[in-house]
């Protein structure tokens, strides 16, 4: 994981870093003056393609979205009707957008409070190298492999009140079939259940990787000292796994904010916008209503939220990773 932090350039990683990387870097520094003639050709040859693509497909669209968000524009022709910040104002007053924001918050909360502990618990169960665990790992990981849209369709069928699994279960128990996806109070919880089901496997895999990199001798030492399983978990596993946990939380938060493909086949944001997330809201109100200016405003807000969260999270929690 230490290399992951390398994306954020920091002034002097060499001194504080561990063994292997520092040696490599020291070598590079030593050979520095020999390479000096080679820097420019490399720069000229290798930087432009990446830079051009990045500008073309990332920076430019972002800038365009920010520009469009100031217009009342249908998406046809060129934007001409300049409205200033009116789109943002409308957005702020929109009840469905507030629902979407709340839902995104709820998804983050459930991801952190339910999904991560579940993933961690399962990871501790299946990370041991005993026969049969691979099969379990595979089973738990399967939902993540499934395409989001396919998962949404499958669960739409499961929740179906007439033919679905829920319907059969309800009739088995002898209660009235709930139509969960058609109920504006419960639909979001049905969606949350699918979110947890879909993504816990991914986080479990992260944790397994983290767990397997923990030195076994620490546990042996703890055993010799007579530590209980809980003590071992709290004093060895948790601290040594914390970089992975922080990374997993980061993925959860960003992933929750971007949730879209699964909701569309499940509920399409309905009923009465009760399962709208920010991205489905963008699609419904910006794209399908041909209000591209307004949609861009939503995009800008979403982008700002994501960037703020991502950077402050890295700054605060992942500083040492």
């Amino acid at each position: 994981m230490s290399d992951a932090a390398g994306i954020i350039e920091r002034p002097s990683p060499v001194a504080s870093r561990g063994r292997a990387p520092s040696r490599r870097r020291a070598g590079a520094v030593g050979g520095h003056h020999r390479n000096i003639g080679g820097v420019w050709p490399v720069l000229v040859l290798f930087l432009p393609p990446a830079l051009v693509l990045f500008t073309l497909f990332v920076i430019l669209p972002m800038g365009e979205a920010a520009w469009y968000s100031l217009f009342d524009w249908s998406g046809y022709g060129a934007p001409e009707d300049f409205v200033g910040l009116k789109n943002f104002e409308t957005l702020w007053r929109n009840g469905a957008f507030r629902t979407a924001l709340t839902n995104n918050g709820l998804i983050i909360l459930v991801s952190l409070a339910l999904q991560l502990p579940l993933a961690l618990w399962l990871a501790t169960l299946v990370s041991h190298r005993i026969p049969g665990t691979t099969a379990f790992r595979l089973v738990f990981f399967l939902p993540y492999v499934l395409a989001d849209v396919a998962a949404g369709l499958i669960w739409r069928f499961i929740y179906d009140g007439d033919y679905g699994l829920v319907a059969s279960l309800a009739s088995l128990v002898g209660i009235a079939t709930p139509y969960v996806l058609a109920d504006r109070d419960y639909a979001i919880y049905a969606v949350l259940a699918v979110v947890v089901w879909k993504y816990f496997g991914f986080h479990m895999m992260l944790f397994i990787a983290g767990l397997q990199s923990i030195d076994k001798s620490l546990y042996e030492a703890a055993d010799l000292d007579g530590a209980t399983p809980w003590q071992k978990f709290r004093t060895i596993t948790l601290p040594l796994l914390s970089p992975t946990i922080r990374l997993s939380v980061f993925f959860s938060v960003i992933g929750s904010l971007q949730l879209f493909d699964m909701i569309m086949p499940l509920t399409g944001g309905g009923p009465s916008n009760s399962t709208q997330t920010m991205v489905t809201f963008l699609y419904t109100y910006g794209v399908t209503r041909m209000k591209v200016g307004f949609g861009s405003a939503i995009g800008v807000v979403l982008f700002l939220i994501c960037v703020t969260l991502a950077f402050s999270y890295r700054r605060i929690f992942m500083r040492h990773d």
Partner: protein, 431 residues
């Protein structure tokens, strides 16, 4: 790490796209054939087969022209079109509901104005269509698309279920009759109406028809001109009140707020709901959607027009439905226009009518209608004093979606009639 991976992926995809774009560009130039791309939303495989057959016939008569029929699901089609039309990948011909959406597309120069072509040779092309169909495809004196069909909505009912509940479908003439039928059906343990709330628009038929029966043509003309308080005028609020009353009677299947349109058709076709407010050609649609692929046989189906509302301004002769047409995109070839002229001409439309697919827009092709149910609708349409196009198309995508949303909110008891009317008016004024 995540940024790094995503960046790499994005770059990879971008590179792949560039290569793909280059390849398609090259192969397009190399092909000797002219390909006419037509994009439609027809989900019924039998209908598509009829189209394919016609297109194949055309191809044999015109070597060098390939007709490519492309399908996109209704909602996806509407969402994707703005981007598609402005790209170089725009289809030559695409399905349209006319109205506000087509107007927006025309204003942006994404579709061709066909007025000149239609009026050439003393209006030969224009005259090949029924006046109502041509009028529906003409916005501000510009003919913006080639009429394909007229459609109309009305109630279909399952005769067997009606009999079981002791309801006579031929006797439902007023809104009160309908409400009484709902009560009787419920008492007999039958779901009275199949409702497609998941897609929203199937329920906007109710409000639109109610407003049409209450206010007639004058109310709609005034509202669309922004006069008399627009959509907050009494007929529209009253229509919402009636809709609320309908919702409170709980006529729809449980969970109707999440039911998609194809499932709604299936519900009716499987005999699990007694009525459906739907398009004229729904005898075929319910059959295709039903679990057994057959649905209710023709003789088991009855229809009645949307009932009159007491105290309403109308005589019940207004109709609600659509005019569907083929829009011709900006860069469409002459071959594409020649094809669409033939494809929507009397000969081809007669074939479609014979297959019970539509009420043709081409003059004289009505004779091809064999299906008594569709014929009934066609005759009613012929007597119509005012044909209102689907509001979610007529009012444009933005206001139209608000209409759909508000219909849902009111029928499910979430919003009061006057609030819903105000929301629509607000959206209308924002346009």
């Amino acid at each position: 790490m995540p940024i790094k991976i995503r960046g790499r992926l994005a770059r990879g995809i971008a590179a792949a796209c560039l290569v793909a774009a280059g390849l398609t560009g090259f192969s397009g130039a190399a092909a000797a054939q002219t390909t006419v791309r037509l994009m439609h939303v027809e989900a019924n495989p039998n209908y598509v087969a009829v189209w394919r057959k016609l297109a194949d016939d055309y191809q044999t008569q015109h070597p060098g022209v390939t007709i490519d029929l492309q399908f996109l699901e209704n909602e996806a089609f509407k969402a994707k079109l703005p981007t598609l039309l402005q790209s170089n990948d725009a289809p030559d011909l695409f399905y349209s509901w006319s109205g506000g959406v087509l107007k927006a597309q025309a204003e942006a120069g994404a579709v061709q104005d066909l007025t000149e072509r239609m009026q050439a040779d003393d209006g030969a092309w224009a005259k090949s269509f029924s006046p109502a169909a041509l009028a529906g495809s003409t916005i501000n004196d510009k003919t913006l698309c080639v009429p394909l069909k007229m459609s109309m909505t009305g109630f279909f009912y399952n005769k067997a279920l009606f009999e079981k509940a002791g309801v006579d479908g031929t006797e439902i003439r007023t809104w009160d009759d309908l409400m009484a039928a709902v009560e009787k059906l419920k008492a007999a343990g039958i779901v009275p109406i199949a409702g497609g709330g998941g897609d929203k628009w199937p329920l906007h038929f109710y409000w639109s028809y109610l407003a049409l029966r209450l206010g007639g043509e004058p109310a709609f003309t005034a509202a669309k001109a922004g006069e008399d308080g627009g959509f907050t005028a009494p007929p529209f609020v009253e229509a919402f009140a009636k809709l609320k009353e309908l919702g409170e009677a709980e006529p729809f299947q449980p969970g109707y707020l999440g039911t998609r349109w194809q499932d709604t058709l299936a519900l009716f076709g499987d005999g699990r709901a007694a009525m459906l407010l739907t398009f004229d050609d729904s005898a075929n649609r319910q059959a295709a959607a039903a679990a057994d692929g057959k649905g209710i046989p023709r003789e088991g189906l009855g229809t009645f027009p949307f009932p009159a509302v007491s105290g309403g301004a109308s005589q019940g002769s207004e109709t609600f439905g659509g005019v569907n047409c083929w829009a011709v995109s900006r860069n469409a070839s002459d071959e594409a226009i020649a094809f669409v002229r033939w494809f929507s001409g009397p000969e081809a439309q007669r074939v479609m009518a014979e297959n019970g697919m539509l009420i043709p827009a081409a003059a004289g092709a009505d004779a091809g209608i064999k299906d008594p149910i569709v014929k009934g609708f066609a005759e009613e349409l012929g007597r119509s004093s005012y044909h209102q196009i689907f509001l979610d198309q007529d009012l444009g995508p933005s206001v139209g979606r608000v209409v759909n949303d508000m219909t849902m909110e009111v029928v499910s008891g979430q919003l009061e009639p006057d609030e819903a009317a105000q929301e629509i008016q607000d959206a209308f004024e924002l346009e």
